[in-house]
């Protein structure tokens, strides 16, 4: 008799408000779903609930204070935000950053990528119902937070870089700890794979869900793993090398099908590639100063520039204009990767079921602090 009841479900269109208070919208994202039964016919993405006006605020802070604000955007990858901002200002001021500082920045950024992917993996798996992976991933993320705490004293919002270099040199013995962490992480990535990669339920929940072709993903402005998952070779670290990435060997994993499972595989592979980069960087860490020649009073010449780096979420770009006279930027603009990836949600979601919506929010890996800024 239940076949009939199952067939009866598709009667009326139902408007379902998902969020802003919902366990799996990863923050305060609101989706207005129009459902036919449980199938999504249309979705309107509503955001801005944590809009703090960081762009406007930055136009009234001086150049150094802004580093602290960038922490608050993608709060699970604060160091990457710092890096992007500092590099942009350095580009604008044409400051040379010492090699050691660039190496350390790379290590920090890659550690941050692992931490961010850990959080993504945990929440994504949790959304699909694999509760244990969440705690395993957080266990490893904790190790990274410990490393960061030892380096800069903070665990979430690091404020760990300065324009022209770094505020602090590495504590003694830190590199050994990073090496030890890399060894641990290697085996842990295997553990995640054992739990999920060949799990039939996981495969059924992610294979063929949210498929997007390479050209479509490019046109929609997706970036980072969602773009690479569709087989588009685009990684700012390779294409427009910054920090010290041009000195390291690493691969850019690409997907073939462009579905949720591919994006999952890519991020898992990025764990390994990040570990690889960190190992190379720690092994080849040069001696030298950590701060470049930067004037006491920062005042870039009038002009504007756009500079992008590869954050864990994708292309994190800063567009900064200086009027050349004041000690704060005239225009400060962030190109938030989460925002652009979230734009891909609607085409991905339409036609799928409510349960897939949750999986698709997870696969795009959005952080609402960055979407709303």
């Amino acid at each position: 008799m239940a076949t009939e009841s199952a067939a009866m479900f598709d009667t009326d269109e139902l408007v379902l408000n998902m969020g802003p208070q919902h366990p799996s919208t990863h923050g305060v994202l609101r989706l207005v779903l129009r459902l036919d039964g449980e199938r999504v016919k249309d979705v309107d993405v509503v955001m801005g609930y944590v809009h703090r006006g960081i762009e406007k605020l930055s136009e009234n802070r001086d150049w150094t204070q802004i580093i602290l604000l960038t922490d608050r955007m993608d709060y699970v990858a604060a160091a990457t935000n710092n890096l992007g901002y500092c590099e942009t200002v350095e580009k604008l001021m044409e400051v040379e950053v010492p090699r050691r500082a660039r190496y350390i920045r790379t290590i920090l950024a890659e550690l941050q990528r692992i931490a961010s992917h850990c959080l993504w993996l945990g929440t994504h798996a949790m959304d699909i119902g694999a509760m244990t992976v969440f705690l395993y991933a957080f266990r490893e993320r904790e190790l990274i937070l410990d490393l960061f705490e030892e380096y800069c004293g903070a665990r979430l919002t690091y404020n760990s870089m300065r324009i022209g270099g770094l505020p602090l040199d590495l504590p003694s013995g830190w590199d050994a700890k990073v090496r030890a962490f890399c060894d641990i992480m290697d085996s842990k990535v295997e553990e995640y794979e054992e739990l999920l990669t060949n799990n039939r339920i996981w495969l059924q929940r992610t294979r063929g869900i949210g498929v997007i072709s390479g050209p479509d993903a490019t046109a929609l402005g997706l970036c980072g793993p969602p773009l690479r998952g569709s087989g588009v070779y685009r990684d700012v670290r390779k294409d427009e090398p910054y920090a010290a990435y041009d000195e390291f060997e690493f691969d850019v994993p690409l997907g073939t099908r462009g579905d949720t499972y591919d994006r999952y595989l890519i991020r898992l592979e990025e764990f390994r590639q990040s570990i690889r980069i960190i190992r190379q960087a720690v092994d080849g860490l040069p001696e030298g100063p950590i701060m470049g020649k930067v004037p006491r009073l920062l005042k870039p010449k009038a002009g504007e520039t756009y500079h992008a780096i590869e954050s864990p979420k994708g292309e994190l770009g800063y567009f900064i204009a200086s009027d050349g006279r004041s000690t704060n930027p005239y225009r400060f603009r962030v190109r938030p990767p989460s925002f652009c990836n979230l734009q891909g949600l609607r085409p991905l979601v339409i036609g799928h079921l409510v349960a897939d919506v949750v999986a698709l929010i997870g696969t795009l890996d959005v952080v609402l602090g960055e979407v709303d800024r």
């Binding site: 008799m1 076949t3 009939e4 009841s5 067939a7 009866m8 598709d10 009667t11 009326d12």
Partner: protein, 171 residues
């Protein structure tokens, strides 16, 4: 003694809940009353030592058919209440009268038949090779009533196909 108490309690419950079924304003309340009625009827079967039927009553009626009713009620419960529209040609009072006449008639038949009954209709079936209510019933169904039984299963199959065809929109 126990049977008497059980009978009267259950009778009151059955009739009261049945009245609720036909009088409740909210259809969902109606359906819930119906479930309760059926459960009480199942209890009555237990009193009558028909355990198998009692279980079947719960399983099929309460657990199956009425769930279907509940689904349909929930699906069509939107929009205007169905009792709003009044057909002038409809004569509810007449219906009530007819039902009363019906009750009188049934009561008459009952009274008449018992006034002259000799209860000599006892015609036990042939000795069953098995013991116990369930086993005997099964024996009966699979021997004497095999063809009706098969027909009933075909009927159910046809009903299932028909219901699916009716309920689907894209057919």
């Amino acid at each position: 003694m126990a049977e008497t108490i059980a009978f009267y309690t259950l009778s009151v419950l059955i009739l009261g809940l049945a009245v609720l079924v036909v009088t409740a304003k909210n259809t969902v309340h109606s359906v819930v009353s119906l479930v309760m009625t059926f459960l009480c009827v199942a209890a009555l079967y237990v009193v009558l030592e028909a355990e198998f039927l009692a279980v079947i009553q719960i399983l099929v009626y309460a657990g199956g058919i009425v769930v279907l009713y509940l689904f349909v009620v929930m699906l069509v419960n939107v929009g205007r209440p169905p009792e709003e529209h009044r057909d002038p040609r409809r004569l509810s009072v007449l219906g009530l009268g007819l039902a009363g006449a019906m009750l009188l008639e049934v009561a008459g038949i009952v009274a008449y038949s018992y006034s002259r009954s000799t209860s000599s209709v006892t015609a036990p079936a042939g000795p069953s090779p098995v013991q116990g209510n369930t086993e005997e019933l099964g024996w009966l169904l699979y021997t004497d009533y095999l063809i009706p039984f098969e027909l009933a299963s075909v009927l159910l199959l046809v009903a299932m196909v028909g219901a699916i065809v009716l309920a689907r929109r894209d057919l």
